[in-house]
């Protein structure tokens, strides 16, 4: 049965079709999945079912469910919720600021309520899809084994996706009211990035506490959980987990919570959604400095002009900025580890810093070198291409190096040899990453930042190999500095091998270099 044109169902179908066309599996200019994609997804789907079967047989021997499973189920659901929140913040920003079709929709006879409802449903489906794919097999296998309570997984995922979509949309709209559309765009992108990395940060915080100094923290936490009525397995805190496990009342409660949140969000905020859209439409004309004389302080050299231009463009592109910031979020726990007073720096710090700085440089170099917005302007100018490229590479390597300069200095003071080795590896990793993009980069659009790995396979391979090599070398060299025992010889051999591999990957990238035209 087809929905009548102009109805909410018709609009929802349109929205889902657009989402399908934009899905990662349909990239490459096609609107239909190729046979290879179908095969890969089907294989993954079957594998997940097999895994689910193995897991269920272990988790529920004889079909009996351990009530303590509600605790990990709640924790997993909480983790999923943070990812869903990150995704819904991004999707809400997209709905308000990036999709260009709202003018068309709002000028049509469709009610703003229908438009908002459908858009919110789109955010929910986008947030839930991955987790339905990943956890759906648990339900199917559970039902096949006669454990019908696993249907609770579907309910819990949809309810959580709904709650997070509503929260993401409300947060975005509230920020528009408080801060204005432009700042909201920046903040929502950053919040989305941080929410996505929250789980990682919490796990790092836990490992930092449990590893040194406060070594009893983990045991204390477990003891506290057992003693506290709030953290015991039958505590209301684990109700979401019980909903996942299909207990009737918690499942019903979650479903009702999701429906209520959806109804309230749509009912109360659809008008403000229109207002938010109008704010967003005017935001592009926001004035930096409303009055006063025009200030001109032009830079003297081409090099400076290029570097400053590249940094300005990245700093003002909220979408790109949030992607880059996400990598910095992952860097933060490592900085805490470095600045901690105890211990000599471990091999993980050498490897981690090299990996992160290399990957950050690769991203920046892709944005700056490959995704130049106005190549015609550069090529039609008399500026030496070499100087421009050098400036662009410098603009890519300077931020990561500046970022780790202080921690590296601190390391040099505390443990000079290890600090020097880590510094060497980080600088080499950063320079190599930039050079590889400089040699292997292909013209691209900034909007394709997330897809850059798929667009230029060879460059991605060189970048990955190079990053891993320098990371590995960082690990091995720091281990070598700390170990003067019998294993030192073999570690040194391995380090030499990894260094050779890194240099070989650079040489190959240079030999197969392309010219960006």
């Amino acid at each position: 049965m087809t929905a009548p044109p102009g109805s909410s169902r018709w609009l929802l179908r349109h929205e889902l079709r657009l989402a399908w066309y934009g899905a990662a599996i349909n990239k490459g200019g096609r609107r239909r999945m190729g046979w290879a994609s179908i095969a890969v997804w089907t294989l993954a789907w079957i594998t997940l079912h097999v895994l689910a079967f193995v897991v269920l047989r272990k988790m529920t021997p004889g079909g009996v469910m351990d009530p303590r499973l509600a605790i990990p189920a709640t924790l997993v659901l909480a983790a999923v919720a943070t990812f869903m929140l990150a995704s819904s913040l991004k999707a809400s920003v997209m709905a308000l600021f990036e999709r260009g079709d709202l003018d068309l929709l709002l000028s049509s006879p469709l009610s703003s309520r229908s438009i908002f409802t459908v858009r919110l449903l789109g955010v929910i489906v986008a947030g839930a899809a991955l987790y339905l794919f990943l956890f759906g097999p648990l339900v199917h296998v559970g039902v096949a084994l006669g454990q019908f309570h696993w249907v609770g997984v579907y309910v819990a995922i949809m309810a959580t996706a709904t709650l997070m979509a509503c929260l993401g949309m409300l947060l975005t709209l509230a920020l528009v009211r408080l801060l204005g559309a432009r700042r909201t765009r920046v903040l929502a992108q950053v919040l989305g990035a941080v929410a996505g990395a929250l789980l990682f940060l919490l796990s790092q915080a836990y490992s930092m506490f449990s590893h040194t100094g406060d070594s009893g923290a983990a045991e204390r936490t477990l003891r506290h959980m057992a003693e506290s009525p709030w953290l015991a397995p039958d505590s209301p805190l684990w109700l979401p987990g019980r909903a996942v496990l299909g207990e009737p009342l918690p499942t019903l409660g979650m479903a009702l919570l999701g429906i209520a949140a959806f109804a309230l969000t749509v009912g109360r905020t659809h008008r403000f959604f229109v207002h938010g859209v109008q704010e967003a439409a005017g935001s592009a004309r926001a004035v930096g400095k409303p009055s006063g004389a025009m200030r001109l302080r032009f830079r003297r050299s081409l090099f400076d002009a290029v570097v400053v231009k590249e940094w300005r463009l990245i700093a003002r592109d909220t979408h790109l900025l949030s992607q880059v910031l996400l990598q910095l979020v992952y860097l933060a726990p490592m900085l805490f580890l470095i600045l901690r007073k105890n211990d000599a720096p471990g091999p993980a710090i050498g490897a981690g810093l090299a990996l992160l700085c290399s990957s950050l440089t690769g991203s920046l170099a892709w944005i700056i070198v490959s995704a130049e917005d106005a190549p015609d302007l550069l090529h039609s100018s008399p500026a030496a291409g070499r100087t421009v490229k050098l400036a662009k590479l410098a603009a890519s390597v300077m931020p990561p190096l500046l970022l780790v300069a202080l921690p590296l200095l601190w390391l040099l003071v505390r443990a000079p040899l290890a600090g020097f080795l880590i510094g060497f590896v980080v600088v080499a990793a950063v320079l190599s990453a930039a050079l590889i993009v400089g040699w292997q980069g292909r013209p691209a659009l900034r909007s394709d930042f997330k897809m850059r790995g798929k667009e230029n396979f060879l460059c991605t391979v060189f970048e990955s190999v190079n990053t891993l090599c320098w990371g590995g070398l960082g690990w091995l060299l720091v281990s070598l500095a700390a170990d003067s025992g019998g294993a030192a010889g073999s570690t040194a051999m391995m380090a030499a091998g990894v260094l050779a591999a890194a240099l070989l990957s650079l040489l190959l990238a240079w030999l197969l270099r392309k010219r960006l035209v």
Binding site: A284, R285, A286, V287, G288, K289, P290, M294, R295, L296, R297, F298, R299, R300, S301, L302, D304, A305, V306, K309, R312, L313, R316, D317, D373, A374, D376, L377, L378, H379, S380, S381, P382, A383, A384, V388
Partner: protein, 244 residues
């Protein structure tokens, strides 16, 4: 003696993308003239201009810009010209002053020269009051005017514009036309393509008509009229391009 050198000299210029896009064009544009290059869609106008500005390598033929061989000394040739594409990209996240600073840097203009020029151009084109806004919020006309300011900041001797008036309102179009006329009056050379024949009719000293990659007619408006016994430039154009 030097001033007799044409601003632009094309000899047997060819470029093919599977089929010929530019098919042996010979063209000479004098210094201090406004030359309009007309032709139907796909005639090879933009391809010609992109080869002249060094954005596209010709398959064969020679390009001289103010006596400088483009293939032999591209930097020197580019130093003397500016190109404004039909849909110029301005970096949406830069402000007008920042954009002009960057362009001045590309052409190696010293700040003490570039700053007053930028100020004058922004004032002239009514963009000074928008100097602190990001260009992503600019209208088509404002973007076109800013791109033109960028093209003029290094005071090029040869200004090449591809459809510079498309999408502009009457006021913006008038400003751009005035600027082009003023550039020519000061001794500069302008080569433009346009589909607005009235612009070519009013502004151009000479007109060239391209069809299927070949220059099929060239001369002043009077010469073209005489050749085709036509009335307006539109009649002449349609007669020559066999669209009438």
């Amino acid at each position: 003696m030097m001033n007799d050198t044409p601003a632009l000299q094309l000899r047997s210029l060819r470029k093919a993308f599977g089929r010929p896009a530019v098919d042996g064009i010979d063209l000479s544009v004098r210094r201090g003239e406004l030359y309009a290059l007309l032709g139907p869609n796909g005639a090879g106008k933009t391809t010609t201009l992109r080869m002249v500005t060094g954005l596209l390598a010709p398959d064969s033929g020679q390009i001289e810009v103010l006596g400088i061989d483009l293939a032999g000394n591209p930097a020197a040739a580019k130093q003397k010209m500016a190109y404004l594409p039909d849909d110029p990209l301005l970096y949406g996240k830069l402000k007008p002053t920042e954009y002009l600073e960057f362009v001045a840097g590309l052409w190696g203009i010293a700040p003490e020269e570039a700053e007053p020029r930028a100020r004058r151009l922004l004032d002239w084109l009514d963009l000074a009051k928008h100097a602190h806004e990001l260009t992503e919020g600019f209208s088509r006309g404002m973007k076109q005017k800013l791109a033109l300011a960028g093209a003029l900041i290094h005071e090029p001797e040869l200004l090449i514009l591809d459809e510079p008036l498309t999408g502009l309102d009457a006021a913006a179009a008038r400003q751009v036309k005035d600027l082009l006329v003023s550039h020519v009056a000061q001794g500069g050379t302008v080569i433009l393509t346009t589909h607005i024949l009235e612009v070519a009719e009013r502004l151009a000293q000479r007109i060239g008509i391209i069809r299927q990659g070949r220059l099929i007619a060239e001369g002043t408006l009077a010469e073209l009229r005489e050749r085709t016994h036509g009335g307006s430039l539109e009649d002449v154009f349609l007669q020559l391009t066999e669209q009438a």
